[in-house]
Structures are given as structure tokens and as C-alpha cells.
């Protein structure tokens, strides 16, 4: 569970996060959307204690991030950075994944098992050098290293940016699978289709303030909020908005088909 309580944060003088409160419950899948520079990455770093709030509180699994060591919070929290290169520091993929596991599992056999499992899941050759791979591939290595840790909470900063459609879908399916088994997910994304398809809960950030916080169907069909956050809605909700008031709260293809069928019958 992640909870922000009237959180404020500034890197220097101008506030970057301004009185933000929200809760992401256990097992929830929240998408954090907003324009460039809105403060999304800052929110993610506040979540796991890399940054500490200047006022208000951030509570992670019942622990106040201000009074708990970041390295301790990291044991149960998986964090994927916008830039995967800062995380990768070993010469082979397998070593990289095993290094990340050292801080989570004391048992070496368990570590090897976990590593083997994700290597197979991602179809990686464990002996390859991460630095000779493409950016998209390194992004997947960073994610593999995170999933191997079996985190209870996953904080993902733009996990699919720069990946092709197939990679993107594969990665999202893996994340959704973990979410289905009870892992809490907070994901930053600019992709409204992904938000539409996978998230249950949407947080809209604009210039450090929380503009929207609610169900996907509610937020994704709220044109005012989406415009303020300079995102355009996904295709189905966009179409529904054009059809007018009879189509409010339509956000999935199934709902759309059902409404149209009803309209034709009437």
C-alpha cells in the first residue's frame, strides 16, 4: 500500500509536488499520468524514500519513508527507473540479476532459482553483456532484475517507453500477471491505451498538483482533466465522448459494442 498525505516537495525553492494526497491500495494497479515535467518521476522517488517529503507524509506498507531507511524499504519494493543504464552495473545479464537478489534473499540456491526463472521468462542468454544490447533490451533486463526479486510493490517509471508493440504487450502482460497475484503497481506512463487496458486506477498530475484520482472509466472520460494534463484520451473513450452524453462512461470495446447495439435496437 502506498499513501501520500498532504505531501510537499521541492528540489530547491519552487515546489515540484504541492499538497498531494492519494492512496494506492494493496493489489491496486494505478497509472500516474501527466505532461513532461509534471513531477511524475519525483512522485515515484518519494514513494520509496529516495526523496523525503519536506512536509506531509509518505507511507509505504505502513512505514513512514521519513523514518525508515531507503535500503530497508527497497527489500519489499521494486523500482524501475526511467533510465535503465544507471541500474545495470555487471558484465553479464545473469550477474546483474543475481546482484539485485543479494539484498532480498539470503539463500544462494533460491537466488539461482529466481534468476533462472526470469532468464527463461524473458528468453535471455544469461552470459550476454548488457552494455552491448539495445536500449529497449536493457530496459527489459532492468525489469527482469526487478521481477526476480518478487516485490510486493512495484513502482515503474515509464517501463514501456521506447519498446516496440510486441515487447510492450509482453512486458505489460508480465506486470499484469504479478498484479493479479496481489502485487501493488504504481506505473508512470504517457500511453493512454496501456492505461486504458491495464490500469484500474488513474492519478493525473499537473504542475505538481493532483488533478484527478479515480477509476479508469471515470478519469479517462473526463475531458477537462485530460486536457489539463495535456494527454489525449485513448481511442474508445475518445469515440464515446464524440457520441455525446448517451455514451458517458464507455471506455472498453465491449461496452462500446453493447451501447451501439442498444442504440440500433431502440
Amino acid at each position: 500500500m502506498i499513501r501520500f498525505e498532504h505531501t510537499r516537495f521541492a528540489y530547491d525553492k519552487t515546489p515540484v509536488i504541492d499538497d498531494v494526497s492519494f492512496t494506492v491500495a494493496k493489489g491496486d494497479f494505478a497509472a500516474l499520468i501527466g505532461a513532461n515535467g509534471a513531477g511524475k518521476s519525483t512522485i515515484t522517488k518519494l514513494c520509496n524514500g529516495l526523496l523525503k517529503p519536506q512536509s506531509g507524509r509518505v507511507v509505504l506498507n505502513g512505514l513512514d519513508t521519513k523514518t525508515t531507511k531507503t535500503s530497508l524499504l527497497a527489500k519489499t519494493t521494486g523500482f524501475l527507473f526511467q533510465n535503465p543504464d544507471r541500474q545495470i552495473c555487471k558484465n553479464t545479464i545473469a550477474e546483474e540479476i543475481l546482484f539485485g537478489l543479494e539484498f532480498v534473499f539470503d539463500d544462494e540456491a533460491k537466488r539461482k532459482d529466481q534468476c533462472q526463472f526470469v532468464l527463461e521468462q524473458f528468453k535471455f542468454d544469461g552470459k550476454r553483456d548488457p552494455f552491448s544490447m539495445s536500449r529497449g533490451e536493457r530496459q527489459r533486463i532492468a525489469l527482469a532484475s526487478l521481477l526476480a526479486r518478487d516485490p510486493q510493490i512495484m513502482i515503474l517509471d515509464e517501463p514501456t517507453t521506447g519498446l516496440d508493440y510486441r515487447e510492450c504487450t509482453q512486458i505489460m502482460e508480465m506486470i499484469a500477471e504479478r498484479n493479479a497475484s496481489g502485487v501493488t503497481v504504481l506505473m508512470v506512463t504517457h500511453d493512454m491505451e496501456i492505461t486504458q487496458d491495464y490500469a484500474k486506477h488513474v492519478l493525473v498530475l499537473n504542475q505538481g498538483k493532483l488533478l484527478g484520482d479515480g477509476d479508469v472509466a471515470d478519469v479517462m472520460t473526463n475531458r477537462a482533466v485530460l486536457e489539463a494534463a495535456s494527454v489525449s484520451p485513448a481511442q474508445i473513450p475518445a469515440l464515446a465522448m464524440r457520441f455525446g452524453p448517451a455514451f458517458t462512461h464507455v471506455s472498453t470495446p465491449e461496452q462500446m459494442a453493447e451501447r451501439i447495439a442498444r442504440g440500433c435496437r431502440a
Binding site: 520509496n48 535500503s71 527497497a74 519494493t77 527507473f81 543504464d85 544507471r86 552495473c89 552494455f131 532484475s145
Partner: protein, 254 residues
């Protein structure tokens, strides 16, 4: 944080208006002056002079920050030095085999004071000089090929960039559970070493893309006469150099 320690602070003070070459010589001579003397008081004087120059050029806050960072670092160095030097007469004993000696204290003090007095003029100079001016004047007045001065000034400009990059890497590893939030400095250092790999990789990448983009913009065509800005020597340059040479000579005499 290291970032921002070395970048240019605009101003119109006496120091700002000096010829970049004068600034370079001025700071180098100040730097060397603290190695030609063994007198603690003289070096203390140099440190105070640096501080005064910093205040006078309107970069007081930067000077104080640098000084306090250097002092923190020096305290650690001083303690290590005092513990390992056993020559001279013992002032007192920490344990039976670990004397603190008068020579040890005096030498260690001199050592850290020199460190401070030698670092300050260089940071001061970099704070009041624009990198492009420094590199232009080295090409124009000393005839050093542009590619070398460019390498030098780029290296200096990249220090804060690397510091920021290192900060990012430390952040990324902390998020994985590496205990960087420990108070133990030695433990922190051993944790830091393996992280030099991503730093190296990202630096090489940055340098490579910088080099390619410079080349695409005709970097190799640049000659000694290519700079359009003129850097004249004025009265204040002579004055500044005269003062610093006097300090240097005084250093040798004492």
C-alpha cells in the same frame, strides 16, 4: 552535492575583468606559493586571501561552501596522518603503541592547509572565468591547438555532469537495496567502487556522441585565427600578476 561547484558565476568584479590568461597564471602562482613555504601562518594568510578575493568578486557563498567542504575532507585526512606519523616527541599516547607526536601534528596540519590553499585558487578562477574564454585565450595567446584546449575545458565542464550522473547511479542502486544510506564512510566507499562501471560506460557514450556532433559541425576546421574575440592585456592584469609574484617571492623568503 558536488554539482554546480565549478560553473561560471557571472559578475563584473576586478577578478572577472582580468584577462583569462592572467586569471590562470594568477591562480597557478597562488597555488604553487603554498608549496614553497613551510610556515603555517603564511599558508593561513593565503587561505584568507583566497576567501577575501571570493568575497570581493561576489562569490562569497560559493567560497564558503568550498572551504567548508575542504575542511571536512581535511579533518579526515588530518586524523589519518596524525595516527600514522610516529616521528618526533610524543605529546600523548592514544594507546601504548600509538603516540601523537608534535612533528605529526605540525606536518599533518601543514599538509591539509596546503591542500586547502592549493585547491581554492583554482576553484575561484573557474568560478569567474567562462570556459570558452579560457580555451580561446589558450589557443590565441599560447598557440595551443584548439583540440587540446577543448579537451581540457570539456573535462572541467563535465565534472559536475559526472557528479550528477554518479548521484543518479547511487540512487538507482539504493532503490535495489544497496545500503548507501549507511553512516560509515569506508563501507560507503567499498559499495561505490563496483558502480564505476555504469559511470564509465555512460561517460564514454556521452563523450562519443559529443565528439561526433562536434565533428559534424566542423570542429576539425578550427585554426588559431578562428576566434573572433580579442583578449587584451590591461593595467589590472599587470597589477594582479605583480601582487601574486610578490606573494610568491615572500613565500620563498620565509
Amino acid at each position: 552535492m558536488m554539482a554546480g561547484f565549478l560553473d561560471y558565476i557571472p559578475g563584473t568584479s576586478f577578478l572577472h575583468r582580468l584577462n583569462p590568461l592572467t586569471k590562470l597564471l594568477f591562480s597557478l602562482i597562488l597555488c604553487v606559493s603554498c608549496f614553497v613555504t613551510d610556515l603555517h601562518l603564511f599558508i593561513l594568510g593565503l587561505i584568507l586571501l583566497n576567501l577575501a578575493l571570493g568575497f570581493y568578486s561576489g562569490i562569497a557563498r560559493r567560497s564558503l561552501r568550498i572551504l567548508s567542504a575542504l575542511i571536512k575532507f581535511s579533518i579526515v585526512l588530518f586524523i589519518v596522518q596524525v595516527l600514522v606519523i610516529h616521528d618526533g616527541t610524543a605529546l600523548f599516547y592514544l594507546t601504548k603503541s600509538m603516540p601523537i607526536t608534535d612533528l605529526g601534528v605540525s606536518f599533518s596540519l601543514l599538509f591539509v592547509m596546503r591542500l586547502i590553499a592549493a585547491t581554492m585558487p583554482l576553484t575561484l578562477m573557474l568560478s569567474v572565468t567562462q570556459m570558452s574564454d579560457l580555451s580561446n585565450v589558450l589557443v590565441e595567446k599560447l598557440g595551443i591547438p584548439f583540440r587540446y584546449t577543448f579537451a581540457l575545458t570539456t573535462a572541467i565542464r563535465f565534472i559536475p555532469v559526472f557528479a550528477a550522473e554518479m548521484g543518479g547511479i547511487v540512487e538507482a542502486q539504493t532503490a535495489r537495496g544497496v545500503a548507501f544510506d549507511t553512516k560509515n564512510i569506508f563501507k560507503k566507499l567499498t559499495l561505490l567502487l563496483p558502480l564505476c562501471v555504469p559511470l564509465l560506460i555512460s561517460s564514454v557514450k556521452r563523450i562519443e556522441s559529443g565528439a561526433i556532433s562536434a565533428e559534424l559541425r566542423g570542429f576539425n576546421l578550427r585554426k588559431r585565427g578562428s576566434g573572433y574575440k580579442q583578449y587584451g592585456i590591461q593595467g589590472i592584469d599587470i597589477l594582479a600578476l605583480a601582487v601574486v609574484v610578490v606573494i610568491f617571492v615572500l613565500g620563498i623568503l620565509f
